[in-house]
Symmetry: C2
Subunit: 350 residues, 2 copies
């Protein structure tokens, strides 16, 4: 079999998990988180340019598989992502993902990449971007409730972008807390393992909740949340999955990515449809205010939106250019004469 | 850098264009088309089991990028596919595609493959499956109007599945016709190049239209279509793109894949919403009739549906098993402890 080598147009750069890890270490993880935060903020500033649709979800008893497409008119992106809370018990990731960038003018893919790691990075960077506009100035301490796969990424993003110095951990499973504490040794963060969530939030200006159960849970109750804190709620991100008591939502000013999606998937699914929310992109562009007082409780009701993946994908595309952190894959059939797909197939036989 | 080798769960079989071509030649193209026709028919028989949504399209001035997901509750699939008619003039494919199968119970991908070739194969196999139920018995001659990238695949599928012996070609570009004629030398088909579409349809029991212009075109007018023929209309497959005069639709009995999609994208976008259509799966299951008389004009208004891609993907998954026609790619991050994604990243540094 002597198939001719595929042409350049047929080859798409593919970033494997191994290459993504190499890329992150090459740049340095805190720098990656800082740069990603800025790239995401750039795209939030151009929010109105993007095609926006709620993700396309295929639900099953065990979990959900989603496609998250968007486009700014020049570049198209989508992410494939699953959410299967029961996976962890089987030694599998709850969330895995990969994604693609394509050229809108030709439809040809220009990047395919793993996005399990990249999603963890962009979720943390999005939280940091929101906190940059919403957290009290000079915040030094974050409580992290839920010490799963996201925990260290959230902590390092808040350190890199906001200058957080102290981290207070709680998880119902002490092994998760111990894992997070161990992983953050040498990071420069002062880490305290706590035995209750009540203890974890003591003195914290930022409270991040990131637990995985697919149920209406109450990780935080109203009496636990003092005036002036910023809540970064990551875990409530699909229908039937919330973390905060609704009384907190009644007291807080809530900021969201894309209301049509957040009202279905976020903490605010507990509230009436007229519950007031502010769109984060309007804060970023200066059209409206973020935090306006020291007493205010701000809540970023994060569910993850396609534009954040778009930002992360274009960041990776720019950052792998000229490096060895990708491999070209033969994904696109590209006959010399585009009408002669069959001839290409036939010649591969000779 | 000494990242540990990725675990087996992290590796997804990837079928490149080159490997797809090898697979097809290894099996034999007519056998592939026959087997695909049967696999698609199996899935049409279980039609009601599937999640069905119209494709998720991102339209631009130059073309469209679409995601086509579906699931039978055990396996999930999607296809990424573009349609850019102006690509041909730039030496690019009008349609390129790739796709994925995943396990619904874990959300983990189990196959990633090129689908530019595979889409051409499944589109031809779907046409053959429809013709098996709709074309007049004993059909020997097909007219093929539009001799682009699909032409040879359509011809060979009708030969392999229905026993067509004669092919009559017409294209507004004689070079396209010549390319198709040349590619089919040695196929066993008697091929006639014609100078008009009128000449091409002489004596044909099956008329396949497959042209690429994104406009309301009239490839066939009413006076050209005699009683008893089967029309296999492939090219009218997106809003604003049709091939048949509406008077033909008024005389024909029309069969479609998925009405909500076909009414937007197919030939029947020209007709009122109450224009009667029959769903092909109901013919396949015997719930209703296909062709009922010798005089009847049957029309398969093909637009391509996600379930056909699902069938093609599971066929490729089964057929590459145990072969060398794929490569494992490191697409999924799979840490030993699923909560320890960060630890996996950190250890890759050491």
């Amino acid at each position: 079999m002597t198939a001719p080598a595929p042409s350049e147009k047929a080859l798409v750069p593919f970033v494997s998990v191994e290459n993504m890890m190499r890329l992150v270490h090459h740049i340095g993880i805190e720098r990656v988180l800082n740069e990603l935060t800025d790239v995401i903020e750039e795209d939030f500033k151009r929010w109105e340019l993007f095609d926006k649709t709620p993700r396309v979800a295929s639900h099953s008893r065990e979990g959900v598989i989603e496609l998250m497409p968007t486009s700014d008119g020049e570049i198209y992106s989508f992410k494939y992502v699953n959410g299967h809370p029961k996976n962890m018990a089987e030694g599998l990731q709850t969330v895995t993902a990969f994604g693609l960038l394509a050229d809108v003018s030709t439809g040809y893919p220009v990047l395919v990449t793993e996005m399990t790691l990249l999603t963890a990075l962009r979720t943390a960077a999005t939280s940091a971007m929101a906190a940059r506009h919403l957290a009290p100035k000079g915040a030094t301490t974050m409580a992290m409730i839920g010490n799963g796969a996201q925990a260290e990424f959230q902590a390092l993003a808040m350190k890199a972008v906001l200058g957080i110095t102290h981290l207070r951990l709680f998880d119902i499973d002490p092994r998760a807390t111990e894992k997070t504490r161990r992983n953050l040794e040498g990071s420069g963060l002062h880490v305290t393992a706590c035995e209750t969530s009540q203890a974890a939030i003591e003195g914290a200006q930022i409270i991040t909740t990131c637990t995985a159960d697919k149920q209406y849970a109450t990780i935080l109750t109203d009496n636990m949340v003092g005036a002036g804190v910023h809540i970064n709620a990551i875990g409530g991100d699909c229908p039937g999955k919330t973390e905060l008591h609704r009384d907190i939502l009644s007291r807080a000013d809530t900021f969201v990515e894309y209301p049509p999606q957040t009202r279905i998937e976020g903490e605010i699914q507990q509230m009436d449809l007229d519950y007031p929310v502010t769109e984060l992109w309007q804060v970023v562009t200066g059209q409206t205010h973020g935090r306006t007082s020291e007493k205010q409780i701000t809540l970023f009701d994060s569910v993850g939106f396609a534009i954040e993946d778009f930002s992360a994908l274009r960041y990776v595309r720019d950052r792998v250019r000229g490096t060895s952190f990708f491999q070209p894959v033969d994904l696109i059939a590209d006959p010399d004469d585009p009408r002669d797909l069959f001839g290409m197939l036939q010649r591969a036989k000779d």
